[in-house]
């Protein structure tokens, strides 16, 4: 979906979230803990929220939120983020975006 791709390409580290989603909040906190300030887009506050949700599901995100994009590429939902973090790969992926305000 255009909207999704546009946002993903504009923001280095992007999390699609819902304001009521606590798992999204958890992922956000994890990023914070490793020194990253992701751009969090609350789709429940977006008029095109439903379309974004469908697009994310089509892309394979089974949350559909949280949906994490790094450098324009879809990384995945909570499972993928956690696995990457445990293996040390998440920090590697995020290195170029660390300490950027």
């Amino acid at each position: 979906m255009d909207r999704v791709r546009k946002l993903a390409s504009e923001k280095g580290v992007l999390i699609f979230s819902k304001s009521t989603c606590c798992l999204c909040y958890a992922v956000h906190m994890l990023f914070k803990e490793i020194g990253i300030k992701p751009y969090v887009h609350e789709i429940d506050h977006d008029p095109e929220g439903k379309e974004i949700e469908k697009a994310l599901l089509r892309m394979g995100c089974n949350g559909p939120v949280p949906a994490v994009f790094i450098g324009g590429e879809l990384v995945g939902s909570t499972n993928e983020v956690m696995s990457l973090h445990l293996s040390g790969s998440l920090v590697q992926l995020l290195k170029p975006y660390q300490n950027l305000s």
Binding site: C22, L23, Y25, A26, V27, L30, E33, N79, L86
Partner: protein, 348 residues
């Protein structure tokens, strides 16, 4: 006043007779054979003394009356003794019941029955409301038994010098065994996530260490790591990184849980003291509780990933020692729970 007390005297006044009877110094025969003047009765001033108040009852032979009275008193005394014996029996039955209940709990904890202790304080004995949970309890009991068997095998394999193939076999079965548990838990989370989160299926000491429906993986790593030595520098670096990432992931999930906790509390409390029914709030709360399943699954995912990652860092001997350490740790916690439950306590 005792003017016409030809009837049987009330129980309070029999207290003296009871005491005398129990002390054993006063023989039964003394009653029946005594002459009128030797009958002891409570006089109006409360003292015991001889009485001659039957003098005016002339219709029946005095000794027949006296005999009947004595027999009545005797019957009363026996009745009281029977009652006392019955109460004592009840008391000891109660103690026996408590004892049996504790034994049952201990046996269940050891997985001899369904496995997992039911906390009577929560839902009472048949608190299992869903067949999915009943299945889980049975499965978990068997899981614990199997784990105990594996611990024994692993220990033997480590002590023997039978070589790597045998060790590999046991490490593989050990890993698969944990994966089985995660699969069982996933099904149970769908059936009743509250049940899983409560840790009711575990023993009390294990429950004490509970975090989102199971153990904290970073804590388990702390248990394992000393037994993995000697570690190469690279291994040490990887293991420490894993421990740190694990800790961070746990913290993030904990914060998410805290937020959910707050949201549920607010939803339930919305509109307290307003008139009208609270079903809309409860319906909203039910909807907001659904993510709990995701959290439990996420926590288990973390446990599974941590286990798999560490097994890839270690060589076969280290992995075997790690699994053994883990198994023994759980056994100790279960044993602690049993000991705790059977510790001597002050009588209620």
């Amino acid at each position: 006043m005792n003017s016409t007390s030809t009837q049987f005297v009330p129980s309070r006044r029999m207290g003296i007779y009871e005491m005398v009877g129990v002390s054993g110094n006063f023989k039964e025969n003394d009653y029946l054979d005594s002459s009128p003047s030797m009958i002891f009765e409570d006089t109006s001033d409360g003292t015991v003394g001889p009485s001659n108040k039957y003098d005016h009852v002339a219709r029946k032979p005095a000794d027949k009356v006296l005999r009947r009275l004595a027999q009545n008193r005797e019957a009363a005394r026996k009745s009281r003794l029977r009652k006392k014996a019955y109460v004592q029996k009840l008391e000891s039955s109660k103690l026996r019941l408590i004892e049996l209940t504790q034994e049952l709990q201990r046996a269940r904890r050891q997985g001899l029955y369904k496995g997992g202790e039911l906390d009577y304080g929560l839902q009472g004995y048949s608190g299992i409301t869903s067949p999915g949970i009943a299945t889980f309890e049975t499965g978990y009991g068997q899981w614990v038994e199997e784990q105990n068997r594996q611990v024994v095998e692993l220990r033997k394999a480590l002590q023997s010098s039978n070589g790597v193939t045998e060790l590999q076999f046991f490490v593989n079965s050990g890993m698969r065994h944990y994966l089985d548990l995660f699969n069982m838990k996933a099904a149970a989370a769908k059936a009743d996530v509250f049940y899983l989160m409560s840790g009711m299926w575990k023993t009390s000491a294990e429950r004490y260490f509970s975090w989102i429906g199971g153990f904290r993986p970073s804590e388990l790593l702390k248990v394992l790591i000393p037994h993995l030595e000697p570690l190469s520098d690279e291994q040490r670096w990887e293991v420490n990184n894993l421990r740190q990432s694990c800790q961070q992931a746990e913290d993030a999930l904990s914060q998410g849980m805290d937020k959910l906790h707050q949201i549920i509390a607010e939803t339930v409390c919305d509109g307290l003291l307003d008139e009208g029914n609270y079903l809309p709030q409860l319906a909203a709360a039910m909807e907001k509780l659904e993510p709990l399943v995701r959290f439990v699954n996420q926590a288990d995912h973390l446990r599974r990933e941590t286990l798999q990652l560490i097994s890839r860092i270690l060589d076969i001997h280290q992995a075997a020692r790690g699994l053994l350490a883990l198994g023994e740790y759980f056994q100790r916690l279960r044993a602690l729970s049993s000991l705790w439950a059977s510790r001597p306590r002050e009588p209620a």
